[in-house]
Subunit: 378 residues, 2 copies
């Protein structure tokens, strides 16, 4: 058996030498960076890097090490590039966003809300903007985007998570398509109530309408009331509307308290959902590329060729600048089989040097980069 | 100005030395691995690694290099670990899946389909299993999962992408909860038709029912027919059912040709959706942990603490084993603010050494790993 301590001591010696060589290499790279800045040459020279990697791999004595050397130098070269970006990015990274102190809102502010009156999205709108605004409603995510793009409204409110009206990627794709931006975020705690006509009683209810998710979130309540037959509707607000219009005392709707107020229904029972932690995240969008001074979350989207390691290399920009990712999602690009679009949320403000460095690096190396918004996470 | 060529020559010399040191280090690590195998010690010793990184970082002459050294040695140590995993994984990596030649299907095979008769999910089921099976229908993803778990059905069919009935993560979360597995995948090209009662004509249609996505995918057709008013339904199949039940010659439904056949409606116009590339991916689930010999795609789910770099380190297992990821998605874990669950799809078969190495590494380093299925990507 080998002497473990002796092997470990020897590894420590090797590591010390690698550290010294790494430090010396970074100094040399700095010299090259200065040359590149003075001559205006681009930092990222893919061909040169790949030739370099090919030569280094060739030095390895076996396949495993060859692979390892490729990994290692991909990283060393990428670090060198980041050092060079850091030296030039302060002056070079441009984005179209401007800072503002706070969102200007008054009774003339036009806000378009996804869905219909009495919905949870409306609740999010009122909690975020107050009720003293000029409001309108749009039936689809796309119509909300259009209204913002064409200046018919200043802000739009859309559900972005924990919703069955479409996933986060649909909205992110639309943000790219319409070139709108996220300017705010708001979370609503979903509290479903059982609504009925005035004069109706819980024990009379035989049919209970709601959105499939509403029915699911209250399934334990429905199980405890076996006489109630659940029936699906397009939205919770629509179920309230149906109960109002059908004028049938045996019909109930699972919807928000707002829906009760708006449709003139009676709240038969509050908080009938069994999942207490159930909440929906909404985003506020605008046509202007602005971010509040206190913004602390950034959403971006970038496209990469479908090659092993491309995402890995891209993530290193976050790691290297000490940025915390809070969400990542990939989706294939329609009609482009070998390319992917990624959506990433991370913590930060466009003012920060680390954020600028990371975005500069991604912009240089990805096929495209789009900043979807910088806003306050709540 | 510096001499660019001289700096580059010097960098080449440094790199050669790093290659030699790296190779020597890997040899030393192999010795340690043999010691660990003989004594049965665990490869991953987090505390020792972190202490080692702390010492190495302290050797750096500035903050930037300190960060770089941490990155570099995180990778070098991770490579060393992978070498050690490789030496022991063949015998050590255990998973509960067994190989089978093909899916046994006959008229007694019980298949549960999400949704109702005449849906696109039903179309997926028939295309995948043929029509000579014993079928049933379930109204929610959860009910499908339950039927499989409790042995009421052998296989389940669920839409997993390009659907507004819930996102991929909902289904993946349910797979984890019910411990069911993905055994197959099938893509259906969505072709919407305009359906009406027998005897109805396109020009008579005034109200057009469908699921919100159906209406959206045919919005250009609807715009060309301004007399048709779009109205949302819970599903495309439901819209066909409504037209049948209302017996109103001015009502139309946007749904599949299957729905026309099932509900006895007339196809007024075929292929009215403007997006030609529109298709939905469905998965086939089963309770048994099996994979077909020709399976070439693996879905997994793992949980990580919310620390900078944890995902990055996890992805290195794919890179290092030459595995291509085709999907990644993160979601926060309910009730656990600082932990994330990741869903990753990648190309491979559980038989392959590279797949085993990668999964062994992830299992050792993540808080949890679950293989959701190994199936044939189509």
């Amino acid at each position: 058996m080998i002497d473990l301590q002796q092997s470990r001591d020897e590894i420590d010696k090797v590591d010390k030498q690698i550290v010294d060589l790494f430090e010396y290499r970074m100094q040399l790279v700095k010299d090259v960076a200065e040359y590149k800045i003075q001559t205006g040459k681009k930092v990222f020279d893919k061909e040169r890097e790949q030739e370099k990697l090919r030569v280094l791999k060739g030095m390895a004595s076996n396949d495993y090490n060859s692979h390892g050397i490729q990994e290692l130098f991909t990283q060393i070269i990428s670090m060198s590039r980041k050092l060079q970006y850091g030296l030039i990015s302060e002056g070079s990274f441009r984005h179209p966003f401007t800072e503002l102190q706070s969102l200007p809102v008054d009774q003339n502010t036009k806000v378009v809300c996804f869905g219909v009156r009495g919905s949870y999205t409306e609740q999010a709108m009122e909690e975020y903007f107050g009720s003293n605004i000029s409001r309108s409603y749009a039936p689809s995510f796309k119509k909300v985007m259009q209204a913002i793009k064409e200046g018919e409204a200043d802000y739009g409110v859309l559900p972005i998570e924990n919703t069955s009206t479409g996933g986060i990627s649909d909205i992110y794709d639309l943000l790219v398509e319409f070139d709108n931006s996220i300017i705010g975020e708001h979370v609503v705690k979903i509290q479903h109530a059982l609504l009925g006509l005035h004069g109706a009683e819980i024990n009379d209810i035989r049919t209970i309408y709601s959105h499939p998710q509403g029915l699911m979130q209250c399934s334990k309540y429905i199980e405890r009331h076996p006489l109630m037959k659940p029936v699906e509707c397009t939205s919770t607000a629509d179920s309230a509307k149906k109960v109002l219009e059908d004028k049938d005392m045996t019909q109930g709707a699972i919807a928000s308290k707002q829906a009760a107020a708006y449709y003139g229904l009676q709240i038969l029972e509050e908080a009938i959902n069994h999942e207490d932690s159930n909440s929906t995240r909404f985003i506020i969008i605008s046509r202007d590329k602005k971010y509040r001074k206190d913004a602390n979350k950034i959403s971006i989207c970038f496209e990469l060729p479908h090659e092993s390691g491309t995402l890995y290399n891209m993530l290193s920009h976050f790691i290297y600048n000490n940025l915390n990712m809070t969400k990542i999602e990939s989706r294939p690009l329609e009609g482009k089989v070998f390319e992917y679009r990624f959506f990433v949320d991370f913590e930060g403000n466009l003012n920060e040097a680390g954020v600028k460095n990371a975005l500069f690096g991604i912009q240089e190396e990805a096929m495209s980069l789009k900043i979807l918004g910088n806003y306050k996470s709540i």
